[in-house]
Amino acid sequence: MAFGNLTRIAVAACITSAATYAVPLNGAGATFPYPIYSKWFFEFHKKAGSEINYQSIGSGGGIRQVTEGTVDFGASDAPMTDEQISKVTGGIIHLPTVMGAVVLAYNVPGVDHLRLTPAAVSEIFLGKITKWNDKAIAASNPGAKLPATDINVTHRSDGSGTTNIFTDYLSKVSPEWSTNVGSGTAVKWPAGTGGKGNEGVAGLVQQIPGSIGYVELAYAHQNKLPFAILQNAAGNWPEPSNEAVTAAAAGALAAMPADFRVMITNSPGKDAYPICGFTWLLVHPLYADKEKGKTLVEFLRWAYTQGEGMASSLDYAPLPESLIKKVEAKIDGIKY
């Protein structure tokens, strides 16, 4: 009988999963690291047999759910504030996992290479530089045929960690941005139009001549969008690459706070790419459920030894070795 067969399969399934010792862990949060996290969970499941479910509902949702205790861990592209942490029973540990960078994609007919200073970037997004042939842009692009056309600023319309990284950078390089706009996952943009998601911004940039907009480095790479080279805090012009992003984290290491809650934009490193940031896993310092705590710690140890190596192939920058050591010391402190 079909029914009997089903029961037998169900029973067999229960026995198998019990035999491989699996307490499914549940996590929720950021969408940006979802591709690498799902790869990690898949590979870890293959290796250790433990199942980890992750729902990419956004950083805000991840923070809310981990606060309410509906998931075992959260994930966020922006560090939690002190006030948010104080609401979590048992506290929260931030663990940086991988890094992402934000590039400025542009569409200026006849201009194949574009270099922008921090001042030029902030003035463009403040809506103060409105023409492509403005002195501030021309000065760093000698020989380029910059047209006298309008600059069309595009930004993300949806709340996102990418926006948080980019506006954090603008706040650091421009006092005016810092006082008038500030940084966050969604801000009150002084200029331009909004597109939903990386694809929305990229679509606008490609469609409208004279556009400039910020997208994730990985997205720009995969879609072969031309992007601007930016001057970093040390005065150099590094190409946006995973190495330059890892260099930014290494450059920020000296000033790294013990809880890893830091934005590493405008990093002082010599080869550091200036607009990049961590994405974090949000875990508790103590897990009442022993099985869950054990699985989580096993997963984390595996992720920082084996998982980091998978980052580059998915266009994320891995953490520098020196930082991984610090994070592993933190994992040792997780009790269960």
Binding site: T31, I57, G58, S59, G60, G61, I63, A78, Q84, D150, N152, S157, D158, G159, S160, G161, T167, V181, G182, S183, G184, T185, A186, V187, K188, W189, G192, T193, G194, G195, K196, G200, G203, L204, Q207, I208
Partner: protein, 327 residues
């Protein structure tokens, strides 16, 4: 003629079915109770949604008061929230959509019921209804990649040159209130057309014949016998279209430019209530930001309700006046 338009003709009652095990009055009562529960659940659902939105939106209303409705300052970083740009964008884009889609839909329906050769009717009606089954994200993509560039390069420059201020001023990126209105018009066109067509079909042939017998031209027949008597149904069709336009999210957010700004310039970027919720809800972190988004949701419900009630009144008023005129 007693009835002006026979739209909802109840089927003839037949006697109770023989051979049922349960006495028919019990079955009748049970059936009535069940359907009443079904109908009631819709009301309860709407109330629960509104109550929930009120609960989570209350902090925003408490914090900003009436300013929430009239302020244009939407600044998540400094926790300042005013919903006016979104209310304006939703109302303006829906109004544009209705202005375009109502005459178009009426025209198509008149053509299909009164003028078109018989063999054309089914294919054209089918093509219009196909439009209704296209997912809104597809409309949005088509809007970004096909419609917006076309409007930006070919149509809007013409508007700017010949119509100009204050509604059509430079610069336009193609993503604007007007583009959103046009996309919405295309999306609600099938709704308006399909219902209007049904309503026109339901106008009894005898009305047309009487008009012709009185010496009415074809034009007069359509206008007086068909459109006039079907007016309540037409208003109903427009209301349904409006409902879809007000709540449409994906297609609008992709072409409207997502800039919370109130401007008379139809070619400038704008925003909408549904769009801001969809855009900001997932990553909203502060409590007041979340609360403000819920409050916008409640406002959207409120706007929809007010417009629907207004439309019902309009239907009542038009049919009333119609009867009065005939008496």
């Amino acid at each position: 003629m007693e009835r002006s338009a026979i739209v909802h003709e109840a089927p003839q009652r037949t006697g109770p079915q023989k051979g049922l095990a349960v006495p028919s009055f019990v079955a009748d009562a049970a059936f009535r109770a069940t359907t009443a529960v079904f109908a009631g659940s819709v009301v309860v659902l709407a109330l629960v949604v509104a109550w929930q939105l009120w609960l989570s939106g209350r902090p925003a209303f408490a914090e900003f008061g009436w300013n929430f409705l009239v302020s244009s300052d939407w600044d998540p970083v400094n926790d300042q929230f005013g919903a006016w740009p979104f209310i304006y964008g939703t109302l303006a884009s829906s109004a544009i959509a209705l202005l375009i889609a109502t005459p178009l839909g009426l025209g198509i329906a008149i053509f299909l019921t009164e003028l078109s050769p018989q063999r054309l009717r089914a294919p054209v009606a089918f093509a219009v209804e196909i439009l209704a089954s296209i997912p809104s994200v597809v409309y949005g993509l088509w809007g970004i990649f096909a419609l917006a560039p076309l409007l930006r390069e070919k149509v809007y420059p013409f508007f700017i040159e010949h119509l100009g201020k204050p509604f059509f001023t430079t610069p336009s990126t193609g993503l604007s209130l007007l583009t959103a209105g046009i996309i919405l018009a295309i999306m609600i066109l099938p709704t308006i057309t399909a219902i209007t067509r049904e309503v026109f079909l339901a106008v009894p042939e005898s009305l047309r014949e009487s008009a012709r017998a009185l010496g009415a031209t074809r034009w007069e027949t359509i206008l007086l016998a068909v459109v006039r008597s079907a007016r309540p149904g037409v208003v109903g069709a427009v209301v349904l279209g409006l409902g879809r336009a007000l709540g449409e999210t994906m297609a609008v957010t992709m072409v409207i430019g997502n800039r919370p700004e109130v401007s008379l310039n139809f070619l400038g970027p704008s925003h909408s209530m549904a769009a801001v919720i969809a855009n900001e809800f997932t990553e909203a972190v502060s409590d007041i930001h979340l609360s403000a988004l819920s409050a916008v949701g409640l406002l959207l419900m409120g706007v929809t309700l007010v417009l629907n009630v207004a439309a019902q009144l309009l239907v009542w008023w038009t049919s009333h006046r119609l009867k009065g005129a005939r008496a």
